[in-house]
Symmetry: C2
Subunit: 523 residues, 2 copies
């Protein structure tokens, strides 16, 4: 996720008690030493797997001015790089000036970072220029990177010496337990590959919080958390990390109580001054799903007690933006995100997400024994559904339309909110291709909701076929981890104005790690 708003003099509401509980749940990071599995010279443009040699070949690849090597660490890593550098030839008489480029996907090396002019900061591009005064040197870079490939280019030596890389090592970090999960993998080889990519994605995004992506934005987003938590329950089952994130979001909010779209943990925990309507409404969803999951191990009354009020507050804040016609104006509270698809009209989706979130708020009320609240919510939900039906349902066309647009996302969310009857819903997806042409989907995040909408109508085979096609095409495009944004027909699509800042390990895209074991245990 990457989206921003700017509020002057924003001072978040801080709840120190909640933040202390979150702090106590700060996970220990597991460290794994990872060495390159293959290397190649990269002086030209193209780096291809066929050119790769065993890493033992590395020290002999002596590098002169302008020359490059590429190191392949075998799989996506989130971690710290250390290089053992040396020289060949005469004693160095000038510093070595090197450029280090980190890539999650080889495509990143084909892009010129200097040409990027998008709206997301170019500072996310993982590229460092370093001077080394004394050789041999052990160069331990202080920043964390997300990468499988490292390209080292010698910007300058002197004619007296060549740079030699004696060794390279990644100290990979994750708060995911390194339990071997392969026994849970689907048997079908194609699905197994998809599942593997998804699990690796989640693993590399699980740090001291669930990060959206370890390359960018490296932080906790509410809507992303919802999908990460689901995948986590079926894989690493680090329930405390979900709890920690819920306490963080609860502990630092907008002054009016809204849960922020994302938050920072460094140098101290602080809500971003960005609110997203749909993201805010996922707070009760994640809380309810966490408690349901936790219940399998024994109830967690404290968390319900601590966070119930905040979860219900999100619904109330949204309900306050419902006008007399029963339609919510989500954009008064923050951006309605839904998906990066250009031109998507989001009014219908906003209404549907609120109805959807109330389902979870009701369950929370029931769990809390708050019958009155449950009844009120059910009533409000019914009115919202009625209004949605009235405003967005096209009787003649038998589908939903928002602002005159029959986007696939609108159908998906209305189905998930059960604004359509089961029969209507099922028929809608007969025409998925038609809605997709009108306004399609850009992110695996949205594709997840499409798949769950298909599943909610019992279109299981189609749901599996979609996973196989969509995530499978990502795998075929060389994914080791799930891409943040993916349009199979347009592999370089980016919502940011340049794919060089795209994240190729983004946990909102990893939900087949949840969908496959839960819905297709037989696959």
């Amino acid at each position: 996720m990457a989206l921003y708003s700017i509020i002057d003099h924003f001072i978040p509401l801080q709840d120190d008690r909640l933040l202390e509980i979150a702090d106590r749940l700060d996970p220990k990071l597991h460290h794994t030493q990872v060495l390159p599995v293959s290397v190649c010279r990269a002086d030209g443009e193209e780096i291809s797997p066929e050119k790769m040699l065993l890493p033992e070949a590395l020290p002999a690849m002596e590098l002169k001015h302008g020359e490059s090597v590429c190191l392949d660490f075998g799989d996506h890593q989130t971690g710290y790089l250390t290089l053992d550098l040396d020289f060949a030839g005469s004693h160095p008489d000038a510093p070595a000036h090197i450029c280090l480029q980190f890539a999650e996907h080889l495509q990143e090396f084909t892009e010129n970072s200097a040409e990027y002019k998008g709206w997301v900061s170019g500072s996310w591009i993982q590229e460092e220029k370093v001077h080394i005064d004394v050789l041999p040197a052990r160069l331990a870079l202080p920043r964390r990177y997300a990468f499988r490939y490292l390209k080292l280019t010698v910007l300058d030596t002197s004619p007296k010496y060549r740079l030699v890389i004696r060794g390279a090592e990644c100290d990979a970090v994750s708060s995911a337990d390194d339990t071997d999960l392969s026994a849970c993998a689907p048997a079908d080889p194609e699905l197994k590959q998809i599942w593997k990519i998804c699990v690796r994605t989640l693993h590399d995004c699980m740090q001291s919080v669930f990060e959206d992506g370890p390359k960018r934005d490296r932080r906790l987003w509410m809507g992303d958390l919802r999908l990460q938590a689901l995948a986590n329950y079926c894989t690493f089952r680090n329930l405390d990390l979900v709890k920690r994130c819920l306490y963080l979001f609860g502990g630092t909010r907008f002054p009016d109580g809204r849960v922020s779209a994302c938050l920072f943990t460094e140098p101290r925990v602080e809500a971003d001054d960005t609110c997203m309507f749909d993201y805010m409404l996922f707070y009760p969803v994640v809380l309810e799903e966490y408690l349901a999951e936790k219940e399998k191990e024994g109830a967690d009354r404290e968390t319900l007690q601590d966070l119930y009020g905040i979860a219900q507050q999100q619904i109330d804040l949204a309900l306050a933006q419902v006008d007399a016609d029963g339609i919510v104006h989500g954009d008064r509270l923050g951006t309605v995100f839904i998906d990066w698809a250009p031109g998507l009209n989001k009014d219908g989706c906003a209404q549907a997400v609120l109805i959807y979130a109330i389902d979870y708020a009701v369950r929370l009320a029931v769990r809390k024994g708050d019958k009155e609240r449950a009844a009120v919510l059910r009533e409000k939900q019914a009115l919202l559904k009625q209004a949605a039906r009235k405003v967005f349902w096209e009787e003649k066309e038998q589908c939903f339309s928002s602002g005159g647009q029959k986007a696939l996302a609108t159908q998906v969310w209305m189905v998930l909110a059960r604004v359509a009857s089961p029969e209507e819903a099922c028929r809608i997806f007969d025409r998925a291709e038609e809605f997709n042409r009108e306004c399609g989907m850009m992110t695996p995040y949205m594709h997840h909701y499409f798949v769950t909408a298909l599943l909610s109508c019992g279109r299981k085979e189609e749901a599996l076929a979609h996973i196989r096609w969509y995530w499978g095409s990502m795998a075929k495009a060389g994914a080791d981890t799930c891409f943040e944004t993916w349009v199979p027909e347009d592999p370089k699509a980016s919502p940011y104005g340049g794919s060089v800042v795209n994240s190729y390990c983004h946990a909102w895209s990893c939900t087949p790690a949840y969908l496959l074991p839960v819905w297709f245990p037989e696959a």
Copy 2:
């Protein structure tokens, strides 16, 4: 100095005993905390003293994408930079990517480092690009820089925040004692300014060895050491540092015993595989001058004992390259440097430098009580002078010519070697301008020898006028320290193919700190 040769599989002769003595003399570095004295925005091209504000203005100069500030530390510094960085606006949602450029002279900021294509490594350009993940941050750069000015440019933030510089500090280092030397300064204001610049230059080049320049090459060169030692005797009088350097040069040499043109001290002491004929011959010169200076405080028999053989060996190695015609072929042992003046024929100079060095070797022999050696050397010297007279003296033209060229440098060295009679020598400098036109001088290093040649003929007034004009023009060009290379008519001249790698604090240029007090105590 910067010049190189490459010898495959070069293994220097190491004398551990000498290197241990050198190591014991490794000086303590003095640290001085230096704060900026003024600051200005530097978004456009020009930074001029008139635009500078008090440093208190710095934190208010909030920097967006592409914006710059310039900090002036008041004088040339050799040291380490620490910045206190912060932000204004919303919590940073992306790293700050900054570029730091260090300049000894403002001219460096007008040069585009990316365009430099010279033969000296561009890695000497003092420019760093750094990502800062968390703000506020205390950024302590690990490398040492030579600078008065710092330019910080924000390559990228995000629209959510501006970068703020709360403070900046230089931890300046030098092995020169911070004694106030101003009482020794000439009274004449112009000369005082020249003297001040020279003393600062020496101060900032005195580190764990006498470095040629703290920007480039940051190491000990033999010919540079000769002039640094002279200036040191009249200023900081760190005699142990000269002794240390003599032991270093003695302790790591060419396998045949030649003193290397320069040496490295990191990661361990090691001679460079570059020999320069004239530089090698300065070893007995520096040793003799050190002992003479040391004698004022009490004799240093150990150093004479330890290094005498090495000093005499340099002469013998050179004499072995004298052919039957009595002319030395210096280039068989290494480059003959003399000066960077393009097209200079160096045959005559090489002959003269050998004759000149023998003077010092004779004095060493006398000091050692080695009468036989002294006698042999005097005899050899006489033959060399005869041959020089025969081959290089143009009776008709009453000047010296080398390869058909009557360069000023050739006249200077022949006069210093006393190949001309005092009367001839004196008349030669009546025509200095003529020889200068034929082939002039490019470095203050060569200008020093020109001045001493004038002084050797008693042309004292002219010598002072030359100091006033040549070093004075450097001061007028904004020098805080002496430039490595300086042609007043061509301020951007560089022997390296681009002035961006020029050093603007080069100790071989600081000899007015010696010439003025010794030759013009009345000035």
